[in-house]
Amino acid sequence: MKSSPLYLAVAGALLTTPAIQAAPPADWSAVPATEITLFYPGVSAMEWITKGTEHGGARALRKGETCADCHSDEAADMGKKMASGQKLEPSPIANKAPFIESRVQAAHDGQNLYLRFSWQQPAASGAAPMDAKNPVKLAYMLEAGSQVELAEQGGCWASCHGDARSMPGAADSKTKYVKNGSLAGGVYYDLNQWRSGENKTYDGHIAEERVMEGGTALKGASGAQNGGTWSVVFTRAFAGGPGDVTLEPGKVYNFGFAIHDDHASGRYHHVSLGYQLGIDAEAGIIAKRQ
C-alpha cells in the first residue's frame, strides 16, 4: 500500500496542488477592473472633514453617507484645487500631479487574495525627493466590521489626523493613528505596502499608532513599470495573525489605497476615497474566485 504507484500519484497530487494554486491569475485581462481616481489630499484631515463650519459634507457623514456618495465624480477636481494650493494646502509643490487615474482588480483562490493596481506614471514634479530610495510606494488598508469610526464611509481616511507627521505644525514622531485604536479590541486598519526602490513589502497595522511590521498575511508583491504604466500585484493570504484582517468569502471589507508618487513621503501622496472590497460579495471592488 505505502509505495504503490496509485498511492504515490494521489499523495503527490494532493501535496503539490496548493503550491500550484497559490499564484495570481495568469491572465488579468479577464478580471473586471474598477476605475478609481486617486487625488492629492492636501491637509484635509479628519478634524477638518468632520467640522461642519468648514466642510458641508460633515452633515452628510453624520447621516451615514459615504465620502464617495458626494465626491466620486469630482475627485480629480478636488485634487486640482489642493495640488494648486487653492484650497487646503499651505505649501503646494509646484507641478505636483493633482490626481492619478488607476484601476484596481481583485481575485482570490480560496486561500489568497490577489490585488492588482495599475496606473499611468504622472510627470515628475521636479521637486527634491522626500524618499530618495523609493520613487513609488503603494499601500492599501483593510478594515473589518467597521470598528474604526468612519472607516465604512471614508476608507483609510480615519487614520489621517491634523497632528500626524508632515501635517502643518505636527511632531515628526507622531504617526497616523485611529481614534480609540486598539489592536486587542479589533479597532485597527490592516496596512499592506509595497516600495518600488527597496522592492520590499511591509505588513503592519494602524491602531493607536502605525506599526509597519508584524503582520503575516501579506505573502509578497511584485511591481514593475512597462512603458509609462505601473502594475503592482499583491498576494495576501486570507488569514494571518494580530493586526491582519481575516478575509472570508461572502464578506465585505472597508478598503482604501494610496500611491506615494514622485519620491513622496508622509501626506504628499495621492489617495482614494473609501470603498468596499467584497470576497465573492457585492461591493465596489469584487474579488471573485478564480
Binding site: R59, K63, E65, E74
Partner: protein, 201 residues
C-alpha cells in the same frame, strides 16, 4: 424776538382754515385734488424708498463698498453664464411691502451706526463681522430664506442638471426640511472667523 401771540394765531388761523368748509371749490374737485396729491405723495414716498433699495445706494457707504462688495464680486450671484444676478437688495431687502417696511424701520438703526462709525475701518468691520453675519443668518432662518426663494425653488430644481454633490445635498435638504441659509452661508460674502457649532446649521 417774535411776538408769541402772532405765532399762536398763525397756527390757529391754519386750523381754522382747514376746518372751514370750502366756499369756492366743489367737493368733487377737492376729492380729485386730494386723490392726485395722495398719488403723488405715495409715489414719491415709494420712489425714495426704492432708491434706497439699489446696489448703488448700498455702495454709497464705504463700509459696504470696501468690505462686502469686493467679496460678492467673486461670487456667482455677481457674474455667471446667464447674467442673471442678485444684487444687495435682492437678498437683504424683502420684496413684499409689509416685510419691506418692517425691515426698513429696523435698518434705520444703521444710519446711527454710520454716524458713529461703528464699522468704518477694516479692523472694526472684521471685529463685528461674525455678529453682523449671525444677524442676517438669523433673519433668513426665521423667514425660511424667503429672499433666496424669491428666485430659487427647491422643489423645481432639476436634479439631473445638478452635479453629484449638489444633487445629494439638496436631496438631504428636502428630506430634513432645511432652509437655504442652513448650508449656503458664505454664498455671497466671506464666512467670518470664529464660527461655532451652533452656526453650522
Amino acid at each position: 424776538m417774535k411776538d408769541p401771540d402772532v405765532r399762536q394765531s398763525a397756527l390757529k388761523r391754519l386750523l381754522a382754515f382747514l376746518r372751514r368748509p370750502s366756499a369756492h371749490y366743489s367737493l368733487g374737485v377737492l376729492l380729485l385734488a386730494g386723490f392726485a396729491v395722495g398719488v403723488i405723495f405715495w409715489g414719491g414716498f415709494n420712489t425714495v424708498v426704492e432708491a434706497t433699495n439699489t446696489e448703488t445706494f448700498c455702495l454709497s457707504c464705504h463700509e459696504m463698498r470696501d468690505n462686502v462688495y469686493p467679496e460678492y464680486q467673486q461670487t456667482i450671484h455677481y457674474t455667471n453664464r446667464t447674467g442673471v444676478r442678485a444684487t444687495c437688495p435682492d437678498c437683504h431687502v424683502p420684496r413684499e411691502w409689509t416685510h419691506k417696511m418692517v425691515r426698513k424701520v429696523q435698518a434705520s438703526r444703521e444710519l446711527w451706526g454710520k454716524l458713529v462709525g461703528s464699522i468704518d475701518t477694516p479692523e472694526k468691520f472684521e471685529a463685528k463681522r461674525l455678529q453682523l453675519a449671525r444677524n442676517e443668518w438669523a433673519r433668513m432662518k426665521a423667514n425660511d430664506s424667503r429672499e433666496c426663494r424669491n428666485c430659487h425653488s427647491l422643489e423645481s430644481m432639476n436634479a439631473a442638471s445638478q452635479k453629484q454633490r449638489a444633487r445629494k445635498q439638496h436631496e438631504m435638504a428636502r428630506e430634513d426640511n432645511m432652509t437655504c441659509i442652513d448650508c449656503h452661508k458664505g454664498i455671497a460674502h466671506k464666512k467670518p472667523q470664529g464660527m461655532t457649532e451652533e452656526d453650522e446649521e
